[in-house]
Amino acid sequence: MTSAGNFIKAIESGSKHLVIKRFTFRYPEQKLKFVGDGYQFDPKRGVGIAGYRGRHILFHDKCTGCQLCAIACEGIAEAIGMVKVDESWKHNKKAIMPQIDFGKCVFCGLCVDACPFYALFMTNDYELSAFTKEHLIYTPAQLAIKPKYQGDVEIVIDGRGATHG
């Protein structure tokens, strides 16, 4: 008898969900809201600032070409290579800046931790799929672009279940 009761309970629980709100988040139309603009690091305090770890952003006016990020990444995925840029900055005599291969990068953010000059941060951008491997290599110029990311969807919990509102 208890087993019959349990069956009925299961059926009830299952059919109850026919009226509960759907949890699905409709990606191409909606986008998720993240905390802040992305993961950043404060070398003075030695701690990061919470944020999503998406594609990197490089501030050309801060990067000194010190290669610390590349050294940090070398032990991880060797995603960063230093390339010449035809820009001239006072603080960047060698005119080299990081170029990131997102086919290798694992978005760990340790290169951000390593950069002492507030030049390399991460952004909320994650839409990186491409048809070829070459499209995944981002030159310093591409890295400088601040992605336009507008996400405004969050998990909302109310009496009829959790949804994305």
Partner: protein
């Protein structure tokens, strides 16, 4: 009382006897995996006599990536990202014990707030793991709703962890000396809201899965691992707790702030598939209470990461530290020779230990019990292969 070896020998004999008895074509060799919806990254070879499994031989290694070797070539901190890859959905725990071991070797004191945040992240992450595990258990038993619900509710916790650490699953959050960033504002409320919602959902899981008579029929009394056998095989985590041994590293050897937390070790005595599948669920319920306590007791402000040089190194020595992960004790044996790179890192993982029980439990079972038994061992092949 037959011991484990006897049982195994007996079943083996049964298999051989059938083979000898001029009916060798009764036996059929099946390869379960690697491309098999019932195995994932893993393969085991079974021989079946009709509906009964008479032989089983695990063949792991499809995801063997040489983590231990690679650790010897990387700095202590650079090791973090790839050490968490074996269990990306439990990554805070797998880096936790590594951090503990390195801290012991280097001699770092972790700030108190960092300890709390670590424990919080670890509890959340264990639930993320267990929900995923539960989802796969559901689909293995042909219960597609039970795949969907935990996968969906897991997203609530992933959402929390994403806010906390900045990545969905590969957090790289624990680091020798603390955690990488502080909790963002308003995290506590969000966390409590979503965890409470989850607690409500657990009741529905029981309705639709654990109390479902068909599920009970399929798991109760199936593939029983007795207490003696569990000890002998050295299984760990929920498997050993399901066999009646209340062994939890959080209780047995409390690390960080776990001795300030009040919680019970959940265990069952039957040792069958049902117990093995129910104990993680009980753990999850308990874990929700732990999270509430942690959020309560946490110092409101303070350092979250000890200051240390970029490439920490300590004196030569070795350390073996364990934490309780989703799959049981997860230990790191780290040997240092005084350089920034570890000399040897050995990961002692629950999956690898639990895999040993697989052939013992499968032999003599019916074929329908295969997925139930296999996945109830709380086995994650990627972690076992490392």
């Amino acid at each position: 009382m037959t011991s484990l070896e006897d049982k195994f020998e007996e079943s083996k004999k049964l298999g051989l006897q059938i083979a000898k008895e001029s009916e060798d074509d009764r036996l059929m060799t099946l390869s379960v995996g690697p491309q098999h919806p019932g195995s994932g990254h893993f393969r085991f070879i079974i021989k079946v006599d009709g509906d009964y499994i008479v032989y089983c031989d695990p063949d792991p290694g499809y995801v063997h990536r040489g983590e231990e070797k690679m650790c010897e070539y990387r700095n202590v901190i650079q090791n973090i990202p790839h050490l968490e890859r074996p269990v990306i959905h439990d990554s805070n725990n797998i880096t936790y014990s590594y951090s503990l071991a390195v801290e012991e070797l280097v001699g770092i004191e972790v700030p108190r707030r960092a300890q709390y945040i670590r424990a919080l992240a670890s509890e959340l992450n264990r639930q993320v793991y267990t929900l995923y595990w539960l989802a796969i258990y559901g689909i293995f038993l042909g219960h597609s709703t039970m795949f969907m619900w935990p996968t969906g509710d897991r997203e609530l916790l992933i959402d929390l962890l994403e806010v906390l650490t900045g990545a969905r699953v590969t957090h790289a959050y624990n680091i020798p000396g603390g955690v990488r960033n502080d909790m963002p504002d308003g995290f506590k409320e969000r966390c409590l809201r979503q965890v409470r919602y989850l607690q409500k959902r657990f009741k529905e899981y029981e309705d639709i899965f654990y109390n479902m008579p068909l599920f009970r029929q399929r798991t109760e009394g199936v593939a029983v691992l007795s207490k003696e056998d569990a000890i002998k095989l050295g299984v760990t985590g929920s498997v050993v707790r399901a066999s009646g041994i209340p062994y939890d590293i959080r209780k047995a050897e409390p690390y960080d702030i776990y001795n300030e937390i009040d919680f019970k070790v959940q265990y069952m005595k039957t040792g069958d598939c049902f117990a093995r599948s129910y104990v993680p669920f009980l753990d999850m319920k308990e874990s929700c209470h732990i999270i509430e306590q942690l959020l309560d007791k946490m110092p409101q402000s303070g350092e979250v990461r000890a200051k240390l040089q970029p490439n920490p190194k300590g004196p030569p020595g070795e350390a073996y530290r364990r934490v309780e992960s989703g799959r049981g004790a997860l230990g790191y044996y780290v040997v240092s020779d005084g350089t920034p790179k570890p000399y040897r890192v050995k990961i002692s993982v629950g999956s690898f230990r639990n895999m040993l029980a697989l052939p013992y439990l499968l032999v003599g079972q019916k074929m329908g019990d295969m997925p139930a038994t296999y996945w109830s061992l709380n086995y994650w092949p990627v972690e076992a292969d490392r």
